[in-house]
Amino acid sequence: MASKIAAAKDIITLHGSAAIVSEFFCYAANSILYNRAVYPEESFVKVKKYGLPMLLIQDESVKSYMSNLTSQISEWLEAGKLQRVVLVIMSKATGEVLERWNFRIETDKEVVEKGVSREKSDKEIMREIQAIMRQVASSITYLPCLDETCVFDVLAYTDADVAVPFTWIDSDPKLIANPQMVKLHAFDTKIHKVDTLVSYKNDEWDEEEA
């Protein structure tokens, strides 16, 4: 069937979509770590991705953590078992949760079960991801300053019947009490739809001024 739409459509398979999403998550997490100054600026290096200069951390332990994470996320995505991924930023001293970056994933179950593929222009997906990345970078304008040293953690919300490798343990959701929430853009590969939401602890200064 002849497509009248200007952008040509590409075939997206489940495997490909999972790769796109897990890669997105890796870059998004790095971007968050850089923008929120969880790790010092010097430890990041610039690469070109999604038509933007993206920053990747060089620290070995974080790199290996990320690669383990992305490969596991990719696996879960292909099985259609992943519901969301949450990046939690906590104070190193008190362990209090300061920010919560919530990536909610909706999987088209039909693709997982029957192995069909979808069509969507790669460029379109890249554009959507680019929009999200820009939003993450600009988030520092409204997110409260993180004055203290912070650490991050990543939580994965999966279906109850998923096969859990022993390297993953059950955790509590690490929620924030009375958070401020901001919804960011979403992107869709037609197989996986990823929604982004950031919730953060109310800054006391803001409340006083208001």
Binding site: Y39, K92, M181
Partner: protein, 456 residues
């Protein structure tokens, strides 16, 4: 103790006065325990946000026709999330935390001093205070210690009930039971912190007013043998006996017996009402834990209980309802079982089982943090503090020289009192020091979702 001696001379005749302080040398071990302070919010804002904005999602999507299967799937996903079929996982090997930069670059150290937060809680390894508890009955099935909401501790030593005021440190005697009725087998403060129920060996239960030191009434005729466990639910006093019966008594009315729960075949040694007052958990010497629900019991079903949990292989005396998670009950088994099990009392499912290595005599949840304290017997006679839900041991408190049968928590949730057959009553600041104790997270804002913004 000779029969016929009056109360005052009885006191003098004793070699030791009860509830006198021991001054023990303390070893000053500063153990830094890594404690993660999780967040207490029970509301899942992310899901709530999703549920609220589901209708508006159409705007965000690129022009795509949602196929019926997609819509149906979307609905199912929302349902699934609602039914808690989600597992939350975190990667075990955490990445290395960022290295601390020079103080001039980060105002972190100054910031912390200004906030005066204690980053790591120091849990003292020795008891803060030790009092004498002579003639305390060393019987696993009794419940002889309770701390009331007016900050007064009640302890039964033999035939006498003593009250220890925690704010002033003074001891007073409430009552000495007559020889043929005693010894005292259980004691429990009413929610008002003023009235106290005393269960006796002869199956009677006496109700006392601690403010005026007067006996208000006696509940008799309900049980056939000793009353080893008591639990209050507003005006209902639930009593558990050696005859296996559990009786709900309304203490305001003339014939108090409102209901009798039958199910246990041996002594009922553990009895606890849930925080909501809707469910009652009972543990018996028959190794069975029953969950009784007020709505189920009143209906005419074949069995009165909501759940009958038979997984324990020994008597279950230790029962504790979780303060921060509804429908979560922790139970501990005796010498042959030695496990702590966690139950969803809504479905009756066993969520977790942990082998502690020794008889579990009592369990207490922390009111401020997600922690559980258990008391044990042979061989260590220790109190173990566990992190929940990971069940990692945070601290082990030793000091007692015989099994720690009885435990009670202070009303402010910071101190735990424990008594054992070694005739000592010890106080442990295991849940935090009163000044820095955190208040539980404030409940949801008046208008839910008022703080949701959108970026465009």
């Amino acid at each position: 103790m000779d029969a016929g001696m009056t109360t005052s001379s009885h006191l003098k005749a004793q070699a030791r006065c009860p509830l006198q302080e021991h001054f023990l040398p303390r070893k000053n071990s500063k153990e830094n325990l890594d404690r993660f302070i999780p967040n207490r919010s029970a509301m899942d804002f992310d899901y709530a946000h999703f549920a609220l904005t589901e209708g508006r999602k159409g705007k965000d999507q690129t022009a795509v026709v949602s196929s019926p299967s997609r819509e149906a799937y979307r609905k199912q996903l929302a349902e699934t999330m609602n039914l808690n079929h989600t597992r939350i996982l975190a990667f075990r090997n955490k990445p290395q935390a960022p290295v601390e930069l020079f103080p001039s670059e980060h105002s972190a150290s100054l910031h912390q001093q200004a906030k005066s937060l204690q980053p790591r809680r120091y849990i003292p390894q020795t008891s803060e205070r030790t009092l004498d508890a002579p003639d305390i009955v060393d019987d696993f099935y009794l419940n002889l210690l309770d701390w009331g909401s007016a900050n007064v501790l009640a302890i039964a030593l033999g035939h006498t009930v003593y009250l220890w005021d925690a704010s002033s440190g003074s001891t007073s005697e409430l009552v000495t039971i007559e020889e043929e009725k005693g010894p005292v087998t259980s004691i429990n403060w009413a929610p008002d912190g003023r009235h106290v129920a005393v269960g006796l060996n002869n199956s009677e239960v006496q109700l006392w007013d601690s403010a005026s030191n007067r006996q208000l009434r006696t509940l008799k005729g309900g049980h056939q043998s000793r009353v080893g466990s008591l639990a209050w639910n507003n005006h209902i006093l639930t009593t558990g006996g050696m005859d296996g019966q559990i009786i709900n008594n309304d203490v305001r009315i003339r014939s108090p017996i409102v209901e009798t729960y039958r199910g246990h075949t041996q002594e009922v040694c553990g009895l606890k009402w849930s925080g909501s007052g809707q469910q009652l958990a009972s543990g018996g010497n028959d190794n069975v834990v029953h969950i009784w629900d007020r709505s189920v019991a009143s209906s005419n079903s074949t069995t009165q209980w909501l759940h009958r949990l038979e997984e324990h292989t020994s008597a279950v005396k230790a029962l504790a309802w979780c303060p921060f998670q509804a429908n979560l009950l922790a139970t501990g088994g005796g010498g042959g079982d030695r496990t702590i099990k966690f139950w969803n009392t809504h479905t009756g499912a066993c969520l977790n089982s942990v082998d502690t290595g020794s008889q579990v005599c009592s369990l207490l949840w922390s009111k401020n943090e997600r922690e559980l304290l258990s008391s044990h017997g042979f061989t260590q006679n220790q109190l173990t503090l566990w992190k929940y839900p990971s069940m990692v041991k945070m601290a082990e408190l030793t000091g007692h020289t015989s099994r720690v049968l009885y435990m009670a928590q202070s009303p402010d949730g910071c101190t735990v009192a424990s008594a054992a057959g070694d005739e000592t009553l010890r106080f442990w600041n295991v849940f935090g020091v009163p000044e820095t104790a955190k208040k539980p997270a404030p409940k949801a804002a008046s208008e839910p979702f008022s703080n949701v913004n959108r970026i465009r």
